[in-house]
């Protein structure tokens, strides 16, 4: 019998995904040294942090990708412990990742992969709504091309976000969806993430280095990953301003702005 405090119950109610004291090793080296946070339903969260701080490791470890060894800690999805579940199980439960550098898969058509994301067979047709979304993402001309082969950085990002939307996830983990993306595409990507999270009451965690994406969506929470730990749960725009002014190290000195429950 597990006894829960009032605070725990609140977490369960509005937390789609809760990470508790997660410690993760990559190639034998400890990258995350006890990370905890709680992603709220219907909200967008921003994760900042310098290069090499372990942001990608965090997302990949949550997804359960090979090479990311969870040493201790727990991942809870809607209150259920999913720490040991396989990638496929997590995907089917509704956790989705958009990758910073997705692989190129020669000979597999983007159309077929998108249909598989939708739970269709490659022989099935796209619905009108699906065709419209593909067109909005400017990917109609890429449908019969091999997945990501010869795509520009921005085209890969549009493909990743579109796949993610087609998966209809409850938790979106987005690894730098804004890097290498032109202004119009950034607006589109951010707008679609915002719309999806709002309509589905899902949750999103966005890794970014730049503040631009926040101008096109309404992110409520921001934090910084540094030295294997998470700091400074606060308004993401203020966090970003602090990082610009004080640097990452300077930013985490200010601990008083924590928002309870994050």
């Amino acid at each position: 019998m597990i006894h829960m405090t009032a605070a725990d119950e609140t977490k369960l109610l509005d937390g789609q995904l809760t990470v508790e004291n997660l410690r993760v090793k990559v190639e034998g080296r400890l990258i995350l040294e006890g990370v905890s946070f709680n992603l709220k339903s219907g909200e967008i969260h921003i994760l900042f942090g310098p290069n090499g701080s372990g942001k990608t490791t965090l997302i990949n470890a949550i997804m359960g990708l090979p090479g990311y060894e969870i040493v201790s800690g727990r991942i809870l999805f809607m209150g259920e412990d999913i720490t040991q579940k396989s990638v496929e199980e997590k995907a089917k439960m509704g956790i989705a990742v958009s990758f910073q550098n997705p692989p190129e898969i020669a000979g597999v058509k983007l159309a077929d992969l998108l249909k598989l994301c939708l739970g269709k067979s490659p022989r099935d047709e796209f619905s009108e709504d699906e065709k419209q979304l593909i067109e909005r993402f400017n990917l109609t001309g890429f449908l019969s091309r091999s997945v990501h082969v010869g795509f520009s950085g921005g085209e890969k990002k549009r493909s990743e976000i579109l796949q993610m939307l087609f998966l209809k996830p409850k938790v979106m983990l987005l690894d730098e969806p804004d890097s290498g993306v032109d202004v119009e595409s950034l607006k589109l990507i951010a707008g679609e993430i915002q719309r999806y999270v709002q309509n589905s009451r899902g949750t999103a965690l966005i890794i970014t280095h730049k503040g631009d994406i926040m101008e096109h969506l309404n992110a409520k929470y921001g934090c910084v990953l540094l030295n294997g730990q998470i700091y400074c749960f606060s308004d993401p725009k203020r966090v970003y301003e602090d990082i610009k002014r004080e640097g990452y190290e300077g930013c985490i000195k200010c601990q008083q702005r924590s928002i309870a429950g994050w």
Binding site: E88, V97, I105, A106, V108, D112, L113
Partner: protein, 373 residues
């Protein structure tokens, strides 16, 4: 041998098996040829293409035209090459003679089918294809066998002549049974501005296949492309290569192969390009996927340059499926097995061959069937 009127005389069983090698009913093809065991049972051109192409048994062709023997028979492949060519010379039971007539464009594929239905049969055939000046055609050649027939052997000599300005696209699908011994011996002679594209697909676990077609690019600006997709399983041995001898100024060769080896099969992919004339270009690309520790893939490229302006390159990569790609697809709700088979099918993508849509979708279907089994 007189051609029969109806393709429906071809036994149903054979037509069913033929479908697995991309060979279909008559109306969808410009012409058809069926040789079963030791006899040609059907040869004819669809009436829409009469005057554009001729398709008949080789023995009938030699009777009809004296030039077939004088200009083409044993001219590209020397009959004294080895024991096998001698055997075919002495004992062949037929084969196809296909001629695409000068300046004709045959928009619908022609098809030829060589079949074995008898146990322990050694089939020996001799085929000739002549693509006359400025003609254009696609040919699908299916070789197949009743799946229950054991211990058979197929020895086939094919001589191909691509005349000035002609383009010939030959897609060969092998669908042999598990216990078969296969020796195709082919050579192609290409004249000025001619193009020969060979697409070779072998998806069935044939016991022992060895082939090494040679293209003589004699003409200026002549071009040869060898594409092959090899799927080895159940202890199959596939030793498949190709050779291009670039003798014409500015002639070009391209060889692209994809090999997947599993269940203790062994695949050897050979490729040789010889640049003997100025401004020749060649590229050789071999990619292999090895699926388990009992299998074997070997890539043997050979590049020879004999003139300063020759430019020949090669790239080869042999290895296992990328775990990163598998994990990526699993994040898209696929199981591990689904992810692996999607990657393997993509790896054997026939779009590298630039086939017309009708053939391309048929071949894709065949690949899908073979990789799911």
């Amino acid at each position: 041998m007189a051609s029969k009127e109806e393709l429906t005389r071809v036994p149903q069983k054979i037509l069913e098996e033929a479908a697995k090698a991309g060979i279909t009913a008559e109306k969808e093809r410009a012409g058809s040829f069926f040789h079963v065991d030791k006899a040609t049972i059907y040869a004819g051109v669809n009436k829409l293409f009469v005057g554009k192409a001729e398709l008949m048994d080789i023995k009938a062709a030699m009777q009809k035209y004296t030039w077939v023997n004088e200009d083409y028979v044993w001219k590209a492949v020397p009959r004294e090459t080895d024991m096998l060519t001698r055997k075919v010379w002495e004992y062949y039971t037929g084969g196809y003679f296909l001629r695409i007539i000068r300046n004709s464009e045959v928009t619908v594929p022609l098809q030829t089918c060589l079949t074995i239905t008898q146990k322990d049969l050694e089939q020996k055939v001799h085929n000739i294809i002549v693509a006359e000046e400025n003609s254009k055609a696609h040919v699908i050649a299916g070789c197949l066998q009743h799946p229950e027939v054991r211990g058979a052997a197929h020895i086939g000599v094919t001589e191909i002549y691509v005349k000035r300005g002609a383009t010939l696209n030959l897609t060969m699908v092998h669908n042999w049974a598990e216990d078969t011994f296969v020796r195709p011996i082919s050579a192609v002679v290409i004249e000025n501005g001619g193009t020969f594209i060979s697409n070779y697909i072998c998806l069935k676990p044939v016991r022992n296949l060895q082939m090494y077609p040679v293209a003589y690019c004699n003409g200026e600006e002549s071009r040869v492309v060898f594409n092959s997709i090899l799927y080895g399983h159940k202890n199959a041995l596939l030793d498949v290569g190709s050779k291009a001898i670039l003798k014409g100024k500015g002639s070009r060769a391209e060889m692209i192969s994809r090999a997947v080896s599993r269940q203790g099969s062994k695949i050897i992919v050979r490729g040789s390009i010889e640049g003997n004339a100025p401004d020749c270009k060649g590229h050789l690309e071999c990619k292999g996927l090895i699926m388990d520790d009992d299998s074997h893939i070997q890539s043997i490229p050979e590049l020879t340059a004999r003139k300063r302006s020759v430019e020949i390159t090669h790239e080869a990569a042999v290895g296992k499926i990328s775990e990163k790609e598998i994990a990526y697809l699993m994040t898209r709700k696929l199981s591990r097995d689904q992810a692996v088979s999607l990657i393997v099918r993509g790896f054997m993508d026939v779009s590298i061959m630039g086939l017309p849509e009708a053939i391309s979708s048929e071949i894709s279907r065949i690949v899908e069937m073979a990789t799911q089994a």
